[in-house]
């Protein structure tokens, strides 16, 4: 088989280029395993990120034959092609080869205050929370912060200030947690075009998410919460 892999060392090369490798993966090899074998046996200079190899650490998000996916969870045989094209995530600066700079992604994440704000000290016997009240939280906790959605999002592509799907879904996850006590003003910070109203609702985030988080549901949920919160402020109750 042929592996066509994007190479780029911005400190040396003027432009990225493709390098071709002949490699026969073992049956059931993932794209990540193939990349590792190519590196180990043919080209130790090839750079890419990896860690868990079981789709839970979020390191190996790449573009594989044109689709954004985790390399560890993409089986070579499922691609049904003799050529495998591997590129870094789009819309982020390439640091080297398949490694991109995730700084904008993490900055957006930090801006939404991505932590539970439970008021007061730890209750002596813990919080009493019914599981049904956590159901809405459970949808979002499978997010592995792999940045597939951020990279696929057309709005984040054209507007670097846009928070992006993962961060907004994370904010929604906290805002519906019965233990959370953040003020409405925390949601108002995303009440604008660089927040929830920036979303084009083309649902690319839902399509590419490897963990079925459906971040757009979170954005939609935040929109409803913000409208309801404003209405409450104006009319003193929910409309």
């Amino acid at each position: 088989m042929t592996f066509k892999i994007l190479r780029f060392e911005p400190h040396r090369d003027e432009h990225p280029h493709f390098q071709f490798y002949r490699h026969e993966p073992k049956p059931h090899d993932s794209v990540l395993e193939a990349l590792k074998d190519i590196r180990d046996q043919q080209d130790p200079s090839l750079a890419f990120r990896y860690s868990c190899r079981e789709a839970v650490c979020g390191s190996c998000s790449l573009v594989i034959n044109g689709r954004i996916a985790l390399a560890c969870r993409t089986q070579v045989s499922d691609l049904g092609s003799d050529e495998v094209v591997v590129e870094p995530l789009p819309n982020l600066e390439i640091q080297k080869d398949l490694i991109v700079d995730l700084k904008p992604f993490w900055e957006a994440y930090r801006r939404i205050e991505p932590f539970l704000q439970a008021p007061g000290e730890t209750p002596e016997k813990g919080h009493r929370v019914e599981e049904k009240d956590l159901e809405r939280v459970f949808q979002y906790i499978t997010c592995i912060l792999c940045a597939c959605c951020y990279s696929a999002c057309p709005v984040a592509t054209r507007d670097g200030r846009y928070a992006g799907p993962a961060a907004l879904a994370k904010l929604y996850r906290f805002s519906v947690d019965p233990r959370d006590g953040r003020p409405f003003s925390a949601l108002e910070r995303v009440d604008g075009p660089d927040g929830v109203w920036g979303c084009d609702t083309v649902f690319r985030c839902n399509d590419v998410c490897p963990k079925d988080v459906r971040p757009a549901d979170g954005i939609e949920g935040l929109r409803r919460k913000i409208i309801a919160g404003k209405a409450k402020r104006i009319f003193g109750r929910k409309p």
Binding site: H28, D40, E54, C57, R73, L102, A118, K125, V129, R179
Partner: protein
């Protein structure tokens, strides 16, 4: 020169926990070779133990019972006071984690849900479906963001600098910058995790090369009980991805090719929920006897649990099976076999996480307190990482408050960074040589072949001989790429040197311990020998090679008894 009061190496659960418990007035930074949430803690699945007594069948559970199970599970090699400390801090820790945002699964009355786990007398494993490690790691990282903890992400620590028998500094490879950087601190906490990838078949992340342990050893800090290597009973055939013990906790069966629940022959009472050493050995025995499928695996059967329970309690396992084995455990049994999973041994520290090197602390899997002794119970590693991470943060803070004398070492630390870079360049300038990735594969095969579940003197000796050859080959190592930015070859080259030390200490400890205890099964010494071996193995590096001593256990309330489950 980069300076901090306290440097924490490792951004997994133990490292983050240490950062959060350190005195906030101190200047603290965390160094991690990956972004913290890519750390291997994220892959833990089944749960975390605490005697909350929330389960209807666990109403009279207690810290003492948790400690007893931990000690019995350890085959009596745990330090009993340390195990008691771990278990007593478990309960308030669970409530803190809940308050910080961990989305634990719940019982109908709103309390934290608990499930049965191996070797435990009561259902005391708290969980968030089968993604417990992920939610714990993300939550602690979120709290670290809240506290504005400083991170050096994608920096690999390569050296510990010691001066006048005190910690002086560290050297780290900044992957994005491509440079070796000297760092100074008065105290350091190592929370660098396990060495799973010293073995060929391991449930661990690819990054778990374990160099932190070898680095400490090279700096003169002793390693303890390294011969005790946990093999998890259930890893997925082919990829060796972990299939959580919770699958058995929820009622899954282990079945051999004859269709028999063979655990009846090995642990008739606890069955599939015997401790991991016993279950892993039983599975391997069945496979070796020819009772496995295709001579290499058995089945973990969840079908009788039903679709609803699998979807609710084990959704991550189902995902793993669908994506990595192409089967749905609702309809088909899962092919599994044992694989290396955890290191009970590690850097020799006491119950305050202090090592014999002043200013140097360690916590989590890289450290050995010891609370796990010869065999760790499932659900105790997340607990240990968090609790002893906290203790390390507290101890290092207390040490810094005590006003330790300034250690001069700017020159040595800077010099160490320069000399490593020139060594890398010299290796790069060779005309040809050994490929480090291939050396790593050889090491993995060697360790799997000679220091696996079943061991004997001739095989372990052969392992040591082959290791010496590998050490020789490493002297001829060559960098094919360049010593620049994001050079994984350099990462593995640096880590491999430390892995050679780890492998030697495991093999040596295993060869000398002429008994069977917990995970360490000697076919030529198949019985536990409390009279001769109720003691910790301590191995220290010297110029002439490893020096082995033994340390007697402190007496505790529980006298060793036979482990029948």
């Amino acid at each position: 020169m980069i300076r901090h009061d306290l440097l924490i190496v490792g951004g997994g659960l133990a490292g983050l926990s240490a950062a959060l418990s350190a005195d906030p007035r101190l200047d603290v930074a965390v160094i991690s070779k990956v972004h913290p949430i890519r750390s291997h803690s994220v892959a833990a699945q089944g749960g975390i133990n605490a005697a909350l007594a929330n389960h209807p069948q666990g109403a009279d559970d207690s810290c003492d019972r948790h400690a007893f199970d931990t000690i019995k599970g350890s085959d009596y090699l745990a330090d009993q006071d340390a195990a008691a400390l771990l278990c007593s801090r478990a309960i308030p820790t669970m409530y803190d984690l809940d308050h910080w945002g961990v989305p634990f699964s719940r019982f109908p009355e709103g309390t934290i849900a608990q499930r049965p786990f191996g070797g435990a007398g009561y259902p005391r494993t708290c969980y968030a479906a089968d993604r417990t490690g992920q939610v714990l790691l993300h939550t602690l990282y979120e709290q670290a963001v809240r506290r504005n903890i400083v991170f050096y992400e994608e920096w690999l620590v390569t050296d510990i600098i010691v001066r006048d028998r005190k910690l002086a500094g560290l050297v780290a490879y900044d992957l994005a910058g491509g440079e070796l950087i000297p760092l100074r601190a008065k105290a350091v906490i190592f929370a660098t995790g396990g060495y799973g990838r010293v073995y060929q078949k391991s449930t661990n992340a690819y990054i778990n090369l374990g160099s932190g342990i070898g680095m400490a050893y090279k700096a003169g800090i002793p390693l303890k009980d390294m011969e005790f290597v946990q093999f998890h009973p259930t890893s997925l055939l082919g990829k060796n991805i972990l299939i959580t013990e919770a699958a058995r906790g929820e009622g899954g069966y282990l079945v051999n090719a004859k269709g028999r629940r063979f655990m009846e022959d090995y642990a008739s009472k606890a069955m599939e929920l015997a401790p991991r050493d016993i279950v892993a050995r039983s599975i391997q025995t069945e496979i070796d006897k020819g009772n496995g499928f295709e001579g290499q695996y058995v089945h973990l059967d969840l079908r009788h649990l039903g679709r609803e329970k699998i979807l609710k309690r084990l959704p991550g396992i189902r995902d793993i099976c669908l994506h990595f084995a192409g089967l749905d455990p609702i309809d088909r049994p899962i092919p599994i076999l044992p694989a290396q999973h955890y290191s009970m041994g590690g850097i020799d520290v006491d119950a305050t996480c202090a090592s014999p090197l002043e200013g140097f602390f360690a916590a989590g899997e890289c450290a050995c307190v010891s609370v796990h002794g010869a065999n760790r119970l499932g659900g105790n590693s997340l607990l240990e990482a968090i609790v002893f991470g906290q203790i390390a943060g507290e101890s290092a803070s207390a040490y810094l408050r005590s006003g330790p004398a300034e250690v001069a070492g700017d020159r040595e630390t800077a010099e160490a960074a320069r000399s490593l870079m020139s060594r890398m360049r010299a290796i790069h300038e060779r005309e040809a040589g050994e490929n480090v990735f291939q050396l790593l594969n050889r090491l993995k095969r060697l360790m799997s072949d000679t220091a696996g579940i079943f061991r004997d003197a001739p095989t372990l000796s052969r392992g040591l001989e082959e290791l010496a050859e590998l050490r020789e080959a490493y002297r001829r190592v060559f960098i094919y790429g360049n010593c620049g930015r994001y050079c994984q070859e350099m990462v593995v080259l640096v880590e491999f040197e430390h892995m050679l030390e780890i492998a030697e200490v495991i093999l040596l400890g295993a060869l000398r311990r002429e008994e069977t205890r917990g995970s360490h099964f000697r076919t030529d010494f198949p019985k536990r020998d409390d009279a001769a071996w109720l003691k910790h193995t301590i191995i220290t590096r010297s110029e002439k090679g490893p020096v082995i001593t033994y340390r007697d256990l402190k007496a505790g309330p529980y006298a060793p008894q036979e482990r029948i489950y």
